[in-house]
Each structure stands twice: as structure tokens, then as C-alpha cells.
Symmetry: C2
Subunit: 320 residues, 2 copies
Amino acid sequence: MHELIEKVFFGAFDNAVLRRAEDSAVVEQGGTRLAFTVDSYVVSPLFFPGGDIGKLAVCGTVNDLCMVGARPQFLGVSFILEEGLSAEVLRTIAQSAGETAREAAVEIVCGDTKVVGKGAVDQAFVTTCGVGTVPSGVDISASNARPGDKIILSGSLGDHEIAILSAREGLPFSGNVASDCAPLSGAVAALLAEGTPVHALRDPTRGGLASALNEIARLSNVAMEIHESAIPVRPEVAEACEILGFDPLYLANEGKFVAFVSAEHADAALGRLRAVGCAAQAAIIGEVAGHGLPHVTLITSVGGRRIVDVAAGTQLPRIC
Amino acid sequence: MHELIEKVFFGAFDNAVLRRAEDSAVVEQGGTRLAFTVDSYVVSPLFFPGGDIGKLAVCGTVNDLCMVGARPQFLGVSFILEEGLSAEVLRTIAQSAGETAREAAVEIVCGDTKVVGKGAVDQAFVTTCGVGTVPSGVDISASNARPGDKIILSGSLGDHEIAILSAREGLPFSGNVASDCAPLSGAVAALLAEGTPVHALRDPTRGGLASALNEIARLSNVAMEIHESAIPVRPEVAEACEILGFDPLYLANEGKFVAFVSAEHADAALGRLRAVGCAAQAAIIGEVAGHGLPHVTLITSVGGRRIVDVAAGTQLPRIC
């Protein structure tokens, strides 16, 4: 996917903003810095423990805006629906999107609907786009991680992917694991309070924490170390991973982020973060070791060291 | 569709901006008026005379921004692709989107790609979103048409829908009719030059001119008259309509607009508009007769009068 994007899309659309490869584009507009992002959601099934495609689509776009430090303001939502989809299903998805938008204090101000014939789309796909403003003084980028930065993870890994898998395949963890799908605006605001110099943010969605960290390592040209024992994973998720042969570092999340913060501000930032519901389990999981030869090293629970590579292929398709 | 949108989406997302039902939302942001829009494209086939889904998706979003008088600036593009779609097809679509963006002087600054399994989507769907700024002094809204306004149509009707139909069904008009698919930014800029007070703009896409005019009549609470003899229709399109039993007033266009302009400025505006390539055939096709009881009357070529209603159902699905 990464190669496809690089070759086809960068080739066709090439410009400096796109090449920055942030979760949202940040562009200058009339004296303010505008954040702008779009994502399509094709999750299957449409409904899962902890959410549905409507909630997921709003959270995903709100969170992509948050990851460049923007205050999310306005969303657009576009539906592609299969002929014959029940009005009740559509109403539930739309209500869920609307409620999540209100929770995140954003307004859905534009939208579109296309209905296609039976078999031309699997039930319903949703595309959301969003705009927000980056406050002055905020300078967050996946290219800005610096040696000495502490790495804060906002909560436990893997809940979303295990919830989707359980719902899709009817696995027995089903009842216990709910998606972490949530808007991160409140948590990011808490992190940024008191002018805390946050250097980089990313939400570990497709490809999980491993991919998010490797992306930041590559773009910032730094090496980092994370400590297995410090990374929160719920027991039900750990158990599911053991049975299925999954690594929690590669599992998708929809309500978590990693933050790179100067060491001297990390403890205070962590304290504020833990006061926010969805980040109660936040932890410092590692640090940036130094410049050059971008890579991520995991210090295992028993003291071993291994390189954490980017995900090769997806563990599970149609997860978001 | 109109009923579905009203009931489900206005219910779930309700806010004043959405209720205005413009082609783009216009919101206040940091002292500037930001225009913001999103649309999904599901056209079949992906390639047709005069364009492809990539060009169409960029034009559609650029044009929606133009219809509120905004200067289009930045686009986002999101692809949903069927597993196994050829890289060559994807590259051609992306190149076409990129070229159209450059033609319209907008930058594609964000995007997303999801690949779904065979059969979960019909080849490729594209969703585009866009932002632009509304210059100060411009006040264009589908609610602003006024008695006495002249109605300018920027060119001939129906080329896009007949081109799609021909390409899909292999009909014999195929070689002669190409989609009018084009970015309207240049034409709208010409219309707005010299501070011309343009009151309303709309591009007659799905549902055609009949639906666009009825929507403006309803939102502006006015009655209008249009003259059949003044409405440009290419002979090949007229012929296709006769054979297939279509009414050109209901055919979709992707590079045309109607403008409502004060009578005293209409001739000058028309002159400037005709100097722009895609609007060379622009014509004054009618006028706003008065306030109250919103409706559209067609004065036929032989002098008869008939009410032009909104389209009931689509003549052709998956046209955009």
C-alpha cells in the first residue's frame, strides 16, 4: 500500500504538502493554518462491539485532525449505499455519526449520498472529511520527534482489531472486547494544555503501533526504544493474540495515540492525560535514543532486544 | 433521495449550515468564509468519451465550490478499490485527476486508499472533498434569486448523460457525444468579474436543469419562466433524446451552470462568459417572474406553457 501510494498518487498529485505524509494536510489559508483530511471507511461488519461504521468514520477524521494539533471544527460525510439497505440500518449509522460529532464538538456541514445497484457495493461505505485550525504556537509533525523525547501511549493496544475480528468471525472473545473507537480531541487538548511542547503525534490505526512508530522514525530520522513491559494490553486482548498468533504491536486501534514530548514535560503531560476518560491508562512506553538510521527497538519483558519492523501486509482486511 | 436526505441526515446531523442545502457549506473560520464540500463518484463505466472517474471527481468538487462563489484551493481524494483492479487503470485515473486539478489551479493535499475484496465494490469509487474561500463582497446562494433576475445557462444540456449512456450501452451516438465534464472556475470567475452582482448559481448535475431551477425556486421562494427556444441542446443530444424518450431538461451535466443575475448586468456578464471556452454557447434562457408559489414554467417553442417539475427518480443510475 505504501509503495502504491508513493508511486501512483505522489506521481499524479505531487506537491509539498502531500509529501509530508501527515495524518492531515496543513495549509496556509487567509492567515490561519488550516488542517484538512479525508478517509474512507469500509469496515465489515457495519456494527461491532463498541461502535459502528458511522461512529468510526467520525472518530477517524476527528483524530486525523487532532494528530497535527488542530482543533477539529467541521466535517463532511459521504455515503455509498447498496440498493435495498434497510432504512433502519442507515438511520442508526447516521444517528451514531451525529452523536459522535456532537461528542467531539464538530459540526457535520456537508454530505452526499450515492445509491448503487445490488452487488456494486457491500452494504455501505462511508467517507468523511474534516477541517480544523492549528492554534498558533503548535508545531506538531511526524518529522519533529527529537532525541531525548519521551514516547507516551494514551492507552491499551489492540481493542479495535480484536473487537472487529470477534464480531466478524463470531469468536468467543466477542463479549469481552469492545472497540476503543473514540474521538481524541479531549485527550489531545489535555496533552497540549499549558503550552506543552508536543513534537509528534500519531494514532496507531492500520498497521498498529509498530507502523506508527516506524513512520515517525523514518520521517524524523531517529532511532527509538520502547519497553514491552510498559505497553498496556488488556488481558482479553493478550489472550486473543496468543490464540490467534497476533502481535498487539501490529493491531489497529481507533481511539489511541502516541505522543513525543520533551522529557522535562512528559510527567506533567502524562498526569493531565490520565485525567481524561479514554486515556486513563496512558503510559510512557519509551524514548527517542538518537538521530540517524531510523529504527524502532523493543526491549522485551525479559530484557531482550528486537527490531520492530513495519507491518508487511495487513493482519485483517476491512478493519476500518 | 431528497426525502431520504431530509429525514435521515438532517435528523441526525441537524444544523443551520446543512439546512441551507447549498452545493458547498460556507462557514466562518478565522475571519474568512470557508467553502467546504464532499461528493462520492460511482460512475459506470470508469472511462467514457470526454473523461473518466478521476476527472469527473475533481470537476464535481471544484464546481460545487464555485457554485457558492468560492475560489477553489485544496482538494482531498479518497479511493475505494476492488482487489485486482489493474495498476494501469488506477494510474490513468489518478493522472487524470491530477491533470484536472492543475487545470483548475487547485492542489490535491490529502487522500486515502482502501482496497476491498473482489465483489465488495464495482472496480473503483472515488470520493473528493474540497475547500476554498469566498471573496468578500460575494453573496451567492440558492436562496438569493430575486424577481427580475435574468437566468443565464452556460452552455448546451445533456452531453454528460448521453455520453455515459452511450459508453455503457454501446449506443451509436457514442462517437459523437462527449461528456461536458470540466472545471467551471474560469467561467465563474469571468461571470463574477467587475463586481457583477450574481445572486444564485447551481450546476445542473443529477436531475438536470429542471431540478436545479426547481431547487432555486423553492429556496428563493420565486416563480420563474424559461424559454425552450433559448436553451442550447446539441443536435446529437436532441436526436438521442428523441430516440430514447428523454427530456434534455432532466439530463445530467458536469460542466455547466445556471446563474441568476440582475437584469441590468446580464448582457455584460453573458459577453464575458462567452469568451471562456467551456461557456461559448452561454445564453439567457429566462427570468424570475415574481415572488411566491415557487415553480418553473417552460414557454415551449410553439408558444405553449408547461410546468417543469423536479425529476421523479433518476433517468439513469451511476451517472456521476
